[in-house]
């Protein structure tokens, strides 16, 4: 048997160590023809923690809110958000209107922090570490605000079935406005840095294109889908919590540029404009927030009893920073835990777009193209490179890949 034949059939894909840049383990297998990528495949499952099983076997629904929060440390508002909505849907509990507004405010704060985090990581991926540090410095302001409002920087524990656990009072508004004004004052500067910079334009324009038809076919959701001209946003299409009272429109890149290309540059535009949109939503929330109680049932023992008695199924949908997150629950009477709990995070569907957007790209474009989808579990730490023409296979670790990306930036700058 020829060497080339056996190698391809029996090749085990090594999963390497993890790169320091916040990413969870994931691996990509790329088939390349020289420098050009002809095919790509994604393998996930290295961070399986059995969260749904815990919700169905150990925790009661109130405890599961905190487990849901720890599905992802970056989107830890939208997961409990859609989880409590699913349980409320199943049990018929309605949260008071004030709680709806507080939920929307915290969700938008999360969006600002997540998009700024992404902006930094994307800059890091093209070897532009100055912008990485800049974006993360700017992000600290919203982290301070989140800490001021919720009491913690990362895991916030704001949610409760039938309401929220902490109030946002009138006295806190000036401090919130101060942070929002800070972002408004630097917004034009951020726009200039991310959209007019020569290096960023060179590395992101016409890179990783996802056409509208492909985005529809692959069900790409969230900012990645919107950047391809699919104006889908749960906040607009199926308003939940306070969003029905607010003015939310799905943001597509043609608002700014007049055309939709669907490349990495367009994804930057969408996320940048969404930061502005989130600021406006928080301001609207603060204006319209009605007075009233925070919880439908403040006594946890009574709430737990209602949940144990409840029977039925429910779905909660929320627009996470990365797209639509769906939680499904089924409850059985007399059972303390959930009978079924299913979580569908936006990255599940967005990963399907990876092969499409990588095809035809150069290997050096892989980090930024992959990161442009903002995958929640993303670690292209090791990539298997199969050179089709030569039949040569080699393993490329993240560092080498990152190096290639930096070299490409330097070459383009000359």
């Amino acid at each position: 048997m020829a060497v080339g034949e056996t190698e391809k059939a029996t090749f085990t894909i090594p999963v390497g160590p993890i790169h320091p840049a916040l990413k969870e383990p994931i691996r990509l297998a790329l088939t390349v023809d020289g420098e050009e990528i002809v095919d790509a495949d994604v393998f996930v499952g290295q961070v399986h923690r059995g969260i749904e099983w815990l919700g169905m076997n150990r925790n009661n629904p109130i405890q599961s809110i905190y487990t849901a929060e720890r599905i992802c440390g970056i989107c830890n508002i939208c997961h409990p958000f859609s989880f409590v909505m699913a349980v409320e849907h199943a049990t018929g509990i309605t949260p008071p209107p004030r709680a709806d507004y507080i939920r929307a405010i915290t969700a938008e704060m999360e969006r600002i922090h997540s998009h700024l985090l992404w902006a930094g990581v994307a800059a890091h991926e093209i070897g532009f570490d100055t912008i990485f540090h800049l974006a993360w410095r700017v992000r600290e302001e919203i982290m301070d605000l989140i800490e001021y409002v919720t009491g913690n920087r990362v895991t916030k524990a704001m949610f409760q079935i039938g309401g929220v656990r902490r109030d946002i009072t009138e006295e806190q508004f000036p401090r919130i406005r101060q942070s929002l004004d800070y972002y408004k004052s630097i917004f034009d500067q951020l726009k200039k840095v991310f959209l007019d910079d020569k290096t960023i334009r060179m590395r992101t324009k016409n890179v990783g294109i996802l056409k509208r038809e492909d985005a529809l076919k692959l069900l790409t959701c969230g900012p990645s889908g919107r950047a391809s001209g699919v104006p889908k946003d749960v906040r607009q299409d199926q308003p939940y919590a306070a969003y029905a009272d607010l003015d939310v429109k799905a943001i597509t890149p043609d608002i700014l540029t007049g055309t939709v290309v669907g490349d990495v540059y367009d994804r930057i535009i969408v996320r940048l404009l969404e930061v502005k949109q989130s600021i406006e939503i928080i301001e609207q929330c603060m204006e319209k927030m009605p007075p009233g109680p925070l919880l439908a049932q403040p006594k946890i023992a009574v709430l737990l009893k209602t949940l144990t008695k409840a029977e039925g199924e429910g779905i909660g949908r929320a627009e996470a920073p990365r797209g639509e997150v769906v939680h499904y629950v089924r409850m059985e009477a007399g059972r303390e835990t959930l009978a079924t709990w299913k979580v569908r995070a936006p990255t599940y569907v967005n990963l399907m777009s990876v092969p499409t957007i990588l095809k035809g790209m150069q290997i050096a474009d892989v980090p930024i193209t992959f990161a442009s989808l903002d995958p929640c579990m993303s670690c292209t730490n090791r990539v298997v490179v199969t050179d089709r023409a030569v039949g040569r296979k080699s393993v490329m670790d993240y560092e080498r890949l990152h190096q290639l990306s930096i070299e490409k930036t330097k070459e383009l700058q000359l």
């Binding site: 999963v15 160590p17 993890i18 790169h19 320091p20 840049a21 916040l22 990413k23 969870e24 383990p25 499952g45 290295q46 961070v47 399986h48 923690r49 059995g50 969260i51 099983w53 815990l54 150990r58 905190y66 487990t67 720890r70 599905i71 992802c72 440390g73 970056i74 830890n76 985090l117 930094g120 990485f132 540090h133 993360w136 410095r137 600290e140 982290m143 920087r153 990362v154 895991t155 929640c376 670690c379 670790d397 993240y398 560092e399 990152h402």
Partner: protein, 144 residues
């Protein structure tokens, strides 16, 4: 702790064994301008072979057991292991899950524990400083 401990740059390798990203973003926050750990010479490196300290997050899911051991073996001596976050220390909310093989100290020896879910950036810097002192001591004694 005296400043004599800060003689050499300390290189840190970050290993995610199934963490939720919460600790991971706080580790990155440590490096970025607000906290700026690099001014002490604390630097994240891309390979365990360059590292003095292994910074481990996550509750060690089954898929990551062999890899965690391998990365530990790849790190040259003297080395220290820091467990960052509650789930790496005792499992936290995931503690009874079927897919966990951890906590971290059942897989590899841990020297410094930084509790919190996630720990604040200040706590992580403090943890690295503690690791540093321990590393200096063990290097002096020639054990490690």
């Amino acid at each position: 702790m005296s400043l004599t401990a800060f003689k050499r740059a300390l290189w840190v390798y970050h290993l995610n064994t199934g963490s939720c990203n919460g600790c991971d973003i706080e580790i990155l926050a440590v490096l970025t301008p607000r906290y700026d750990a690099e001014r002490f010479g604390i630097k994240l490196v891309g390979s365990p072979r360059h590292a003095d300290v292994l910074l481990v997050t996550g509750p060690v899911v089954r898929q990551m057991v062999a890899r965690t051991k391998r990365i530990y073996e790849q790190t040259p001596d003297p080395k220290l292991v820091m467990a960052v976050g509650n789930c790496g220390i005792e499992g936290d909310v995931f503690h009874e899950s079927y897919s966990l093989a951890g906590p971290i100290d059942q897989i590899i020896p841990v020297d410094v524990y930084v509790p919190g879910c996630p720990p604040r950036p200040e706590a992580i810097i403090h943890g690295v400083a503690m690791a540093w002192v321990k590393l200096e001591k063990s290097a002096k004694q020639g054990v490690a």
